[in-house]
């Protein structure tokens, strides 16, 4: 159902807040989500005709709560018992303050990033219930039909509903685990949006924005959590490069070739300040370290002027905190930039077993072999990388790079 754009924006903001309030009062996430969705549909129908209420969130809480009470009553009636039915809760008379809204949103995020959900399901549910995107928008962003996405979200809600734990905000180590899951989901959403090339971007542009918005809210709710600040910094620093990522035809431009004058200095400034604040708080986590790498790139006026030794050291630290073959690969590339391609190639050689058929290994090797002047070997690796990738923009980029190398090589060999 199409919502008029002004109402659209209002609902996107108010619905998640209303959901948080209703969940707080009734404790049942799935039913609350249904009730708020129904209230939102009502709002889309009534507000254009009767005018927008002064307190949109309160209106939604009011209508959704009535539905919850009705549902509880008819459940009780069906069971033939006179259950004590919760009195209709008083809706807030004013919009919740920013701080309270942030806390509520954090609760929703923790609920949506439930351990029983797989990452794609948690992502879909978070975008729906917390970011307030419509099912159609989420479907378009992930390039699946709306019905498919609707089912995925519905099943995600069912999974949470049938999970044995009643919802209670966890504490201690469990809370830390759930927060890690929240950050992971937010970062996955960001990457889906950010990594799309400009051609496919239109349906996905908002995902990176949404992820940053959610991280800002989490930061507001947990201002002293260094990893939350680290993730927000990482995304801002990364997103600052957005305008330089694609050329006029919408094809990928890698970091080393980007026009740095197109980088968003405001985002960089904000990211650097956040990072500084986070790092000063002690134990350094993976997002802060990745943000520190992004900060090195942001500070450098050119690819050559980048402090690659620092970047390599940061990746070495990251290997201690959150080791993965990808981190090792990134470190190898940084080492190559600092100490020459052979040093990087030596490190890459150690990764053969771990990276299997992943295209990034031959892609990295190809770049380094090209730098080292080993054209034939570089071309073979470019071909292999192009064969293994599952990303169309990446494949096009690798093919073009190989063609450029082949062309240069032929010109050189035909020169006297």
């Amino acid at each position: 159902m199409r919502r008029p754009p002004e109402i659209e924006g209002l609902l996107r903001e108010s619905a998640p807040r209303a959901l948080a309030a209703v969940v707080r009062r009734f404790g049942d996430f799935a039913d609350a989500e249904d009730a708020v969705q129904e209230a939102a549909i009502e709002a889309a129908r009534q507000w254009p005709l009767q005018g927008v209420p002064e307190n949109p969130t309160g209106w939604l809480v009011h209508v959704a709560s009535r539905r919850m009470v009705d549902r509880v009553r008819s459940e009780a009636a069906r069971r033939g018992r006179e259950d004590a039915v919760a009195a209709e809760p008083t809706a807030p008379t004013t919009e919740p303050g920013e701080g309270e809204a942030a806390d509520d949103t954090l609760v929703l995020m923790v609920m949506c990033c439930h351990p029983a959900l797989t990452p794609p399901s948690a992502i879909a549910l978070t975008l729906r219930a917390v970011a307030g995107l419509t099912t159609a928008e989420i479907a378009a962003a992930f390039l699946v039909p709306e019905a498919t996405m609707a089912q995925r979200i519905s099943r995600a809600k069912q999974t949470i509903k049938s999970s044995p734990e009643p919802f209670e905000m966890p504490a201690g180590e469990e809370l830390r685990e759930r927060l890690r899951a929240v950050l992971r989901v937010v970062y996955l959403i960001f990457n889906e949006g950010y990594l799309s090339s400009d051609g496919e971007r239109l349906a996905r542009a908002d995902l990176a924005e949404e992820a940053i918005r959610l991280a800002r809210i989490a930061h507001l709710a947990l201002p002293r959590d260094p990893e939350v600040a680290g993730l927000l910094a990482l995304m801002l620093l990364t997103d600052s490069r957005r305008a330089a990522r694609a050329d006029a035809e919408g094809e990928l431009v890698p970091l080393e070739e980007q026009d740095r004058s197109l980088w968003d200095r405001e985002k960089i400034e904000e990211g650097l300040v956040l990072l500084e604040g986070a790092v000063s708080r002690g134990a350094v986590g993976e997002y802060q370290l990745q943000a520190a790498v992004a900060a090195e790139h942001a500070r450098a006026p050119s690819a050559e002027a980048t402090n690659w030794r620092e970047v390599a050291a940061l990746y070495a630290l990251l290997e201690r905190v959150a080791a993965s073959p990808m981190v090792a690969l990134n470190r190898a590339i940084a080492v190559a930039m600092a100490d020459g391609p052979e040093a990087g190639l030596d490190l890459l050689a150690e990764l053969d077993g771990q990276l299997g058929k992943h295209h990034r290994l031959p892609a990295a090797r190809a770049h380094l072999l090209e730098t080292a002047g080993e054209t034939a070997a570089a071309l073979a690796e470019y071909d292999r990388a192009a064969e293994l990738t599952n990303s169309l923009p990446e494949q096009r980029y690798l093919t073009k790079r190989a063609a450029r190398l082949r062309d240069r090589d032929q010109k050189n060999s035909s020169c006297p």
Binding site: T118, P120, F142, L143, V144, P145, A147, T148, M149, A150, Q151, R152, I153, S154, R155, N191, E192, L195, S196, S197, E200, R204, H359, R360, T389, N390, S391, L392, P393, E394, Q395
Partner: protein, 131 residues
């Protein structure tokens, strides 16, 4: 992750004749199986598309050099066993799940309920972002 599950006409491993030679109730059972599988995958939010193609009899091949009249070849074709019979496009959590669904498809019932052991080709679909 998006995958395409493809099957062509020749790839039945079990010793089974073409569907035109089956008993009606076996054809019915096979059709029901495919429908039920689609319903299940749809409910799980995994099915993007399920498509059956018209017979090789009706297929045409087109070759053109962009200048002269295109060359259009009609069936029947000697290589008709290699033609695509149908495909599903799915969006699943992992390769393992895609293989699971392919296995289900492969074991669709044939004559007397015997699984046809169809050879299913599983191809990941290229996307805008690497996974």
């Amino acid at each position: 992750m998006k995958f395409m599950l493809l099957q062509n006409y020749g790839s039945v491993e079990a010793d089974i004749g073409p569907m035109t030679e089956w008993k009606p109730e076996d054809v019915q059972a096979h059709i029901k199986f495919q429908k039920d599988l689609n319903v299940e995958l749809r409910e799980r939010g995994e099915l993007i598309e399920g498509t059956a193609l018209t017979a090789p009899e009706l297929a045409k091949f087109v070759v053109s050099d962009g200048k002269s009249t295109p060359v259009v070849t009609d069936g029947p074709f000697p290589e008709s066993k290699e033609l695509l019979a149908g495909f599903r496009v799915i969006d699943v959590e992992s390769l393992e799940r895609a293989l699971e669904i392919a296995a289900l498809t492969s074991a669709a019932p044939g004559p007397d309920g015997q699984p046809v052991e169809q050879r299913i080709e599983v191809r990941e679909v290229m996307g805008p972002v690497e996974h």
